[in-house]
Point group: C2
């Protein structure tokens, strides 16, 4: 249950066994079935979640009722409505399991207490957040200068494991296009690659 997380942290900050033990003690294991809701839009968000096993999506619903997938998460990723989590405001996102999933929940209060007790964790999360920030800058850059086909191809290369697991209409939503458009793009891309 905790092995993948231990490894995940150790790749950035080597930990004593006891330090990881302290971390473990503030985590809440959670099981969630496909289609169940982890975070409901409008509610307060007291945890961020590490994905041990499974696949989830975070989506936003606008005034017109249209949904956009803001984030996917699979094994070894963190997911939450981070805005709501860090600012203690009501969630604007909904988070739903795409597959049966196993998570480890981490509360903000416990995290801040952990930072005080073991500063290594402050470093770990600084590094993680920096990397997350950098990957968002890349996503924004793609959105600015690439057309839909290029973004789709890039998505397949960057996240082959996600592309295999989630329905195409979720990917379309993540790319900011309609499923019909993605279908047409896929037809062209597939045709080009199969002579």
């Amino acid at each position: 249950m905790f092995d993948s997380l231990h490894k995940h942290i150790n790749e950035i900050i080597p930990l004593e066994e006891s330090e990881f033990g302290e971390f473990k003690s503030i985590l809440t294991p959670i099981k969630i079935r496909k289609k169940e809701i982890l975070i409901t839009s409008g509610s307060y968000v007291d945890m961020e979640y590490y994905v041990v096993k499974g696949c989830l999506k975070a989506y936003h619903t606008n005034e017109a009722g249209h949904r956009s997938v803001v984030q996917f998460a699979i094994e070894d990723w963190w997911i939450s409505d981070f805005n709501a989590f860090f600012n203690k405001t009501p969630a604007k996102l909904t988070i739903e399991a795409i597959e049966d999933s196993t998570l480890l929940g981490l509360k903000l209060d416990n995290l801040e207490e952990l930072y005080r007790r073991i500063p290594k964790f402050e470093r770990f999360f600084r590094v993680k957040t920096t990397r997350a920030f950098l990957s968002l800058t890349n996503r924004i850059q793609s959105g600015l200068e690439k057309d839909s086909r290029e973004r789709y191809i890039e998505f397949c290369k960057t996240y082959p494991n996600i592309e295999q697991r989630v329905p195409n209409y979720h990917i379309a939503s993540y790319l900011g296009i309609k499923p019909e458009s993605l279908s047409r793009i896929r037809r062209e891309v597939v045709t080009i690659n199969t002579p």
Copy 2:
């Protein structure tokens, strides 16, 4: 010169005078004139920069030579090619002054050393990075679900001080549209607001 930065940090982490003194000692004051290049695409990036006074843009140039503005920076913001800075890889962005500017440069090595000596700074930059991450999630969400007009209006509301200072074609580029499209949008928006 250092007052605004001192205040900027103190709003997140109250510092002893001596702690800020240590920070000051690793900063490099830099003056740059309008249109001068701060970071050249392809070069290595040894600093991130705090803007004391002025206005700059970070843009990416694609294979076809088209440029997209990835970031603006005005007083109290940080700017760099953060990907190149943190990963010690060649810059993919160009950073150019839009106005004569005064900056404070911070080297990665000095920053990491500072983290070891005064852990408060690790906390400060964790918090700053978290906020930067959150603001990028908002920008991505806007890109997914809003059309160009809405994104332009949102930009004007969020960054009125930037909208006043930079030419419209820079804003168009930041929004991922062509200046001609922004011109059309502005005509409609202005018409609606002036009966």
